[in-house]
């Protein structure tokens, strides 16, 4: 008995010591763990697909280093600048204007004016728009030069490695194919940013034998059927796709052809029209998203309201306070309201400076 007791005591003591050391080990671990996660947060690659509607703006952060790929429409300029300010940054090391369309470089002048800028990359092609001119002005006012996006040239964002994969020609019929395509790799994870590159540019990249494989594909041209050819998608072979598009835009983006390809390959889709701003975080091994995925729904064109004579049915009215308000045919005041102007689409009404009636 006594022997047993002694034995039991020994066992208890042993268990106690084990537990104690385990507890000490745990606390040490948890301390280590906090240190580790903190340093991880410092080391993670953050990719922000900013919700600028039917446009592109992507902010990338790796430790102290930052990059911006496109800056939305002209009207997104303030929002984009504020978003970046809220990230607590003063300097953007790399600014990429993928190509001169307004839905990509619209906010770029404001960004260049608002932050310290390291390098600016834009394809060597000009546009006659004021939007483009303003970006060039901003670059020149800062005494900056523009770097030519030579295919194969490398951009280091901290210890994340970027490489330029397009454009592969110096003359194209339209601006989309001039898009700068960048692949960014951190550890075993990679992202492919394609701007509005279309099938032609995709084919050039494939024919050149460039390594296109990536975990995350920023789908070209807002999910339009002009891009994301099957051969290209097979080469990239992404696990995730991000589509940057506006809800019920006028072009039906993302198109059925694109969504079918993504669905058939079982690629998980995130989209700004459904998810808002999407943040992807890579620790070098795994990629996490800040939101649940979207679905494969194709874009719906905004509706046109016309009578049998093709005349618009949306009523535009300027009220006694001088407010410009438009009323939809199913609106509460539609029958009472005097139409001073008729519109066919809500877009037309908004472009004319009218806002939608609240009822």
């Amino acid at each position: 008995m006594r022997k047993l007791n002694k034995k039991a005591l020994k066992t208890y003591f042993f268990i106690f010591v084990m537990l104690l050391s385990f507890f000490v080990f745990l606390t040490a671990c948890s301390k280590n763990k906090t240190v580790e996660t903190m340093s991880n947060v410092r080391n993670d690659l953050e990719v922000h697909f900013m919700d600028v509607g039917q446009a592109d703006a992507i902010f990338i952060k790796k430790g102290q280093n930052t990059m911006l790929i496109d800056a939305g429409n002209n009207e997104d300029a303030d929002w984009v600048v504020n978003y970046l300010k809220n990230q607590g940054i003063k300097k953007i090391d790399y600014v990429i204007g993928t190509h001169p369309h307004e839905d990509h470089i619209g906010g770029l002048d404001a960004v260049i004016n608002s932050f310290d800028i390291g390098k600016v990359y834009m394809p060597k092609v000009t546009h006659t728009s004021k939007t483009f001119k303003d970006v060039i002005h901003a670059v020149k006012n800062k005494g900056l030069k523009i770097s030519n996006p030579v295919v194969g040239s490398k951009i280091a964002l901290g210890d994340a490695k970027g490489v330029i994969l397009a454009p592969n020609s110096d003359k194209y019929k339209d601006y989309n194919n001039y898009s700068i395509v960048l692949k960014l790799t951190y550890g075993n994870t990679s992202f492919l940013f394609t701007g509005d590159a279309e099938g032609l540019s995709e084919k050039e990249m494939i024919d050149k034998g460039l390594n296109l494989s990536a975990d995350v594909l920023k789908v070209g041209h807002h999910g339009s059927n002009s891009s994301t050819t099957l051969s290209f998608l097979n080469k990239v072979n992404p696990e995730y796709a991000v589509i940057m598009t506006g809800t019920d835009n006028d072009y039906g983006h993302p198109h059925k052809e694109t969504m079918d390809k993504l669905k058939n390959k079982g690629i998980i889709v995130y989209r700004t029209d459904q998810n808002g701003t999407i943040v992807a975080i890579s620790d070098g091994e795994h990629i996490k998203f800040n939101t649940n995925p979207g679905n494969y729904r194709i874009g719906r064109k905004s509706n046109t309201y016309v009578d049998e004579y093709g005349k618009g049915m949306i009523k535009g009215n300027i009220n006694s306070k001088g407010e410009r308000i438009y009323h939809m045919p199913d609106g509460a005041y539609y029958n009472k309201v005097k139409a001073e102007i008729w519109f066919k689409t809500e877009k037309e009404a908004k472009e004319a400076g009218f806002r939608k009636s609240k009822k």
């Binding site: 546009h127 002005h137 339209d174």
Partner: protein, 70 residues
């Protein structure tokens, strides 16, 4: 009204007005040979490509970017 064709999307030419606002013009309303970057002159329902203005703007911007790319 004078506008610049910024881009084509679907059935529309997206055109930039002098104040940088973008308006949608149905493709069928503009000459088929019109290209991105062309200046358009719009008078009521008539749309013409303003070749003189287009060339002038191209010249201006080419001068502006001289030696800017490295």
């Amino acid at each position: 009204m004078r506008v610049i064709i910024d881009r084509f999307e679907g059935d529309y030419a997206l055109c930039e007005k002098e104040d940088k606002k973008i308006i949608h013009i149905k493709r069928e309303k503009i000459p088929t040979y019109a290209r991105e970057g062309d200046a358009l002159w719009i008078d009521k329902d008539k749309v013409i490509v303003d070749e003189y203005e287009t060339k002038k703007r191209k010249r201006e911007i080419e001068e502006m970017i001289e030696d800017l790319w490295e």
